[in-house]
Structure formats: structure tokens, C-alpha cells
Amino acid sequence: MIVSMTRVRLAGPAAQLERVLAFVQDLGVLHLVRPQVPASEKLQQSKPERHCRRMLSDVEVALRQLGIERRSRTVVAKPESVIAAARLARRLRRASGKVMKARAALDDERVMLLRYREFFSAFESLIGHELTWPDGKAFYVVLRAGSATALGELRKALTKAVGEELELLDRPLASGELAVLILVSNDAAPKVAKLLSDSRVQELPAPAGLGETNLLRAMPALKARLAAIPRAIEELETERRRLAEGNAATLNRLRWWLRDELLVLEARNQVHAGRHLFVLEGWLPDTKRADLVEQVASLGPEIVIEFLGSEAWKANAPVALTNPALFRPFEIVTRLMPLPRYGTIDPTPFLAIFFPAFFGLMLGDVGYGLLLVGIAVLLRFKSRPGTTLRSVSVIAGACSIFSVLFGVLFGELFGNLGHGVGMKPLWFNREEAIVPFLALSVAIGVVHISLGLVLAAITAWRRGHTREAAGRGVAVLMVLLTVAALLAAFKLLPSGLMTPFVIALLVAFPVLIALEGIVAVIELLSTFGHILSYARIMALGTASLMLAVVANQMVGTFGSVVVGVVFALLFHVVNFAIGLFSPTIHALRLHSVEFLGKFFSPGGAEYRPLSHWQPQH
């Protein structure tokens, strides 16, 4: 149901505006809109708003960088000095940023050094050899994995280039690569460097920043650095913890105050404020009217309240949905679509009834239904009240109940497995009664679409569109007459009734065209198309059952019962996953395209009263 709204105007001395806005925020029921009076000034993002946003950004970044948990609402009070608070936020953002940056640099350095460590170890075992060439030069090379022949070729090429003035030592690495140390005399070094460069064999460079290019001489420094990094990280962590512990409460309080303050500053843009007077307008639920009058009286005689009764304005009223507790979780399905316009019909109650019923008709299996019950219970325990996940758990619960119910009616337990334990269909067997199931699906389509047309007629009537309302009414009549004529033709009704039904149809047809024009013919045809579209209930239901039957047949087709059972279970899991996804999509589609298409009028603005800030779930 869409909550009935009242437009209200508050006026008073401009000096009282801040007080009134704080009062409205505390009250939390007034959805502010710009007053319909000429604005004396063009209000843009004000300087305080810009400052607030900058400060909030500093606070949020500092909270994130310091790893401080966002606390739930506490007492929110304006800081003694906003300037000092802004400076603190900026200082903490910079300090935490510095710590984060230093920590990231140390982590990077550590990762890089660890990558080199294995290479270092391999070359370290060759260190004594380097000393046998005190006047020579060492080249450190790593050959790729699987290049065993490359070593021979390298040795051959080097010998050819510099003769016997070289020593070549190698060690395999755990990665499969080959660490190679080439020791040559200083005279031969340029030739070796050129040869390595020409053959694209890359030398392993010593990590930068250690002031040593010779890898072997750099090793002690590298080891010392690796040992020092964890200490440096620990020091940074201590600094971060110190900053976090010392400022967590302040930053959280500041965050809540800034969020609240920003809402008030944004609301100020909706207020007409002159030099002497302010005018503030908004919408509130009818039920809150008396409360507001009483509360405003407490502000003093200078603040005037006036209720604006013009019905024409109501077209722009914001939309708030209110439904019984049983239907409320289904509002998340309604909210998947744009909100209905004010004064039209909230489809939530219809969704709450038909959505799980359609889902249950399509899945219709006790076994799968019970699995879904398990999922719904799990979701309920994992969710908090009022969250989207809690609503999903309730919807899953409703869908599972309908699945079990229809499963009992169709006698299905994981397909035809129930037949083996004496389970019998109480209504009909979907495996055999394909045509009755199709007829049932189309009949549901007739009921659902007719209901949609009736709701369309009511909506049109409420909005004063009498002709359109009459047109929708005649369309419903024609749908029902067509169905009745078909039933008479198939002798499900006395065949003598067919002629009167057809005559009634022939009379209704020109009336419909007279009321809605030639386009009504196309709409009527599309309505019949929409009714046939409900055949998908039968199609998906039958497909789901057949897949379950195929899964059960797997047990006896693999020779080994164990293999068969494993494959059957896997197939059931896949079928269950399809059985959750496909009926959801198609039940949603039957509502949004076929049913809501008949009466739903989207485009409503959400009711967002000025209140204290709350994080979104």
C-alpha cells in the first residue's frame, strides 16, 4: 500500500532556520521539497557544505587507513572547535597515509628481496670461486627452465670468444631455472658482456638501493635488509595502532556529526530563505500530522505551520510503501523496479501472493523444496533484522513452502523418487498430465491478467480517467467472455452457451474500440499473448521434473551403483540450481512484463524524510 501524504509548510524568522532544521531532523518524518515560491537567491553548494565534504573525506580516509571500525551511532555533538577538528582530521589523514605508504614500500621491497633469495643462495655457494679470480669479473646469469642445451651452447660460445680465460659454474634452482656464474679476466670481460647482450642472455642485477653492484658483495647487505624489514614493519604497525587507539572515538564522533551536518546543509538548499523570513515545505504521512502540529507548537509562536490541501500537488508527492509484516519482505522485489507513482497501486501484496505460488508451481518438488527451506533457515540465521538478506530469507521461505506444497500435490520427491516410497500425487502427476498442467498454467494466466486489468481500471478511475477505466473493464469482460466461449466450444461448459458468449463478444468489441480507439485491438491481442505466456509455468515445471527423472535413471545406467548415485546426485544439484534460478527469473518476468504491464505506473519519488544519518545495510 502507498502511504497517504500531506504537504506541509513551515515559516518563521530567518534567524530560527537552523533551529527548525535541527528540529525537523530530530523528528525524521518530513520529506523536504523546494517551496513553490520564487527563490530570492540561487542556492548552490555552499562554502560550509564544501568544507564539510572535505572534512568528511579526511575522516573517512583516516578511518580506513588506520583500520578503525566504524562504530554505531553514539551521542552526536558538534565539536567544540570545528576548525580544530578539521585540522585534526587532515593531520590524521596525512599521518595515516604516510604510515600506509611506508608500509606498502616495505612490503614491496620484502617481496622483491624474497624473490631474489633463492638466486642469492645459489650464487652464494659459488662465492669461493669468485675469489680465485681476484682480478677478474663475474657475470651472474639465470637461464630459463628447460634450457639444458642452452648451457652447453653458452659455454661453447664463450670459449670461442675468450678462449680458456673463463670459468663457468652452474646450480639448478627449485623453479627449474639454472643459476650460472661466469668468471672471466678483466681483459675478456667486454667480449663476454657483448656476447651475453647479443644472445639476449640477461644478467641478474643486484637489487637497487644497496650501494653495491657486485651481487656477491651485495649479499650480506641484502640479508641484513631482509632481517631489518620485519622490524621496520612492526614499528609502523605500532605507530598505526597508536594513532588508531588515540583517535578512534574522536574520528567516529566526527564522522557521525559530519554526516548529520551534511544532511542539514543539503536540506537547506530546499528551503527558501530570505533576509527576514524562511519558508520550508515538505511531505509527511497523514498519520503524522497531529504529531507535527503538536511538536511545532513547542517551537514557539514565531513558527507557523500550514497544511496545503491542493490535490493537484499530490501528483508529485513522494512514495512510501507500507505493508503487513507478512508482505513487507516482498517490497525488495517491488524495489527492483522503479517505484509506483503516488496515487497508484502498490503491487507488493500481489507479488507476495503470486510470486511464491508461481515459483512453487514451477519447482513443485518436496525434496528440492526442503533443500530450499534449509537455505532459507540458513539465510535467516546469517542475517540481521531489517536487512535485504533477511527479506531474501523470508521470500526463500515462502517459495520453499509453496514448492513443498505443490510437491505433495504432484507427488514429487526429487522427481519420481517419491513413487518408490509410496508417494502418490494428490492432484495430478506432472509427468503424465501435461495437457492439464498446461491448461492450469493458462488458467492462472487468465486470472492474473484479468486481475491486472481490474487494477488498471481502478487506477484509471482513481485518477479521474473514467473512459480509460471503462475501457479496461470492457477488456476484462472480453477476456472472460473469450475464455467462456472456448470452454463452451470444448464442451467444458454447456455448448448452448457458446452462441450467447460470442454475441456478447461481438457487442463488446465495438464498445472497446469506441472507448479506447483502434489501439485497443492491438492491446487486446497482446493481452491474449500475455495469457499464453503463462504456459512457461508448465514448460519450466515439466522440464524441471524431466531433469530430475533423468538424474534418477542414472543410478542404473553406469554399471556401478556407486558411480550412478554420484552422477545422479551431481545432476540433482545442477537441477536444483537451475530450479532456483529459472523459476525466479520467470516468475519475476511474469509479474513485471505481463501483470504489472497492465496497471503499474512507475515514476514515483522515494519518500526520504530529513533525519539523522544512518549507514545503508
Partner: protein, 75 residues
Amino acid sequence: MDTSLLAIGAALAVGIPAAATAWAQGRIGPAAAASLAEKPELSTTAIILIAIPETMVILGFVVAVMILLRSGAAG
């Protein structure tokens, strides 16, 4: 009528709409994905748009079942 011809008819009744559905969904899918990249709030509309062409194969399936029932090969 020859049962094999009826079976071929049923296969075509479901096969051709299935191919048509696949073609349509193949075109809608990338367009929906591109839209979602810019407007994630359109996810429901995107899912419904992708589900719309499935009507063809569902009705094809119904027709195929009808053909098979007439031939006595099912039910």
C-alpha cells in the same frame, strides 16, 4: 502420420525457436552487460530483457509436446 515425421516436427518446433532465442539473447546479453557497466541499477531490467526471448522456446516446447502427444510418443 509417420511417427518419425512427427518426431522431426516436434524437434523442429523446439529447435528453431531455441536457435532464435539463442540469437536474440546473444544480442541482448552484450547490450545488457554494456548498460550495466554504466548503470548497475538496471540489473533487474537487464535480466528481464534477457528472459523475454525465452518465450519463443517455451512456446516451441509446448507445441513440441502437443505434437508428441498427438503422435502417442509421449504422455
